[in-house]
Symmetry: C2
Subunit: 230 residues, 2 copies
Amino acid sequence: MRVHDVSDVLHAPYDRGMTEPSTTLADALREQIIAGDFSPGTRLSEAAVAARLDVSRNTLREAFRVLAQHGLVEHIPHRGVSVASPTTADVVDIYRARRLIECGALRGASPLHPSVADMRAALERAEAALEEADWATVGTANMAFHRALIALSDSPRLERSHGHLAAELRLAFLAIDDPESLHRPFVARNRTVLEALVGAGPDAAADELERYLTESERRVLGAYARMGRD
Amino acid sequence: MRVHDVSDVLHAPYDRGMTEPSTTLADALREQIIAGDFSPGTRLSEAAVAARLDVSRNTLREAFRVLAQHGLVEHIPHRGVSVASPTTADVVDIYRARRLIECGALRGASPLHPSVADMRAALERAEAALEEADWATVGTANMAFHRALIALSDSPRLERSHGHLAAELRLAFLAIDDPESLHRPFVARNRTVLEALVGAGPDAAADELERYLTESERRVLGAYARMGRD
DNA sequence: GTCGCACGGATTGTTGAACAATGCGGGTCC
DNA sequence: GGACCCGCATTGTTCAACAATCCGTGCGAC
């Protein structure tokens, strides 16, 4: 069953912590969105969401502005915001940007960079989850692998941009809803990338990564086509 | 004389047009900031800016959130927002990201792409402004050249990221306030890049662009060092 | 003198209510 | 069936208020 309205979703009010709601609020909403609490395309009524999260409309609107900048939410004037639902063109663009940024980061990386350990750790988590057919965890770990890969560049701004791409892409995965075929084949490929990096060197790893991304894009687009998606 | 408080700046209320203030408002503020109406580091008091732009604090805060996401403004909880003032580390990071994105876009580009015409047009504007020692226009045209260069990638997301980098970098230029040395030498280099693209091909152009960016970074960092800047 | 600390003013964070402006759906009329 | 119009729901924005936090100031202790 698909969720098509906020009211269909039950969840606790976001956790009020020590920081300001308006900052944390966007984070909380982001987490819920990429966790799939609201499926892509869901309309987010200001009044409904504000009531459910127990914040005022004004505060919520600030959070929405942030999410809209991240591409996680689409804001159309006088028509409200809805969870972004990446089109085929969006997917193509996301992968184009990923290829450029990830391969570039990898090509300029040192195999001795501390993040290599993070990549390895993420890879091992993915391989462990693979054993148990826990595709959600596999997906998360794959994501972490690529995040660590970008960290090789030591560039906060590239990490930020890549984070946005990853979040948007996750929405596309949610829309497809076939985690196994989207995540399973790519654990082995990630291992190949990592071993190429510490073995054959950054350029070979980047070439391998490029194949990875092209294949991943092909899968997503194929699924979209089968769904008759725009 | 440097501006250090909003109250020092005189300007008309932002132009109320047909679209919603909250969207246009961020744009208007962005324009004013990158035009140098508020010098980097200036504190932007909510009450003062709201009064001057004739909007409510709530609406202004939405705009601030957007600008903060763009990196144009720094928002510290309970301490308000100030115009970003890129540190040396920021400059290094911005150039690192620019090198990766711009060189990557160029390397994957076709010399037959329509944006090549835009690059040429921007270059000619820069060369014309150079004749008249109009450094501000030279800077704007140089910026447009690189924007057109990114457009070679046909990736809206890369264009957006690059736009943010360019805006942040402009703040660094504002802080330096020596437009001639920052813009003059690079017109000829842009021509070299363009001619390499249509002549020797994308890879040669990318190599040239890399030298361009390294040299530009060196100038900015040098100026920062001479200013005793963080 | 200066270090720590309490106090108060100023600013930010958030709320709730209100109203204008816009979009959407339904009904009517031709 | 299609064009038009009207009413309702939602968004965009403002305002006033209050809580929470920060910052400068002055005081006292050492």
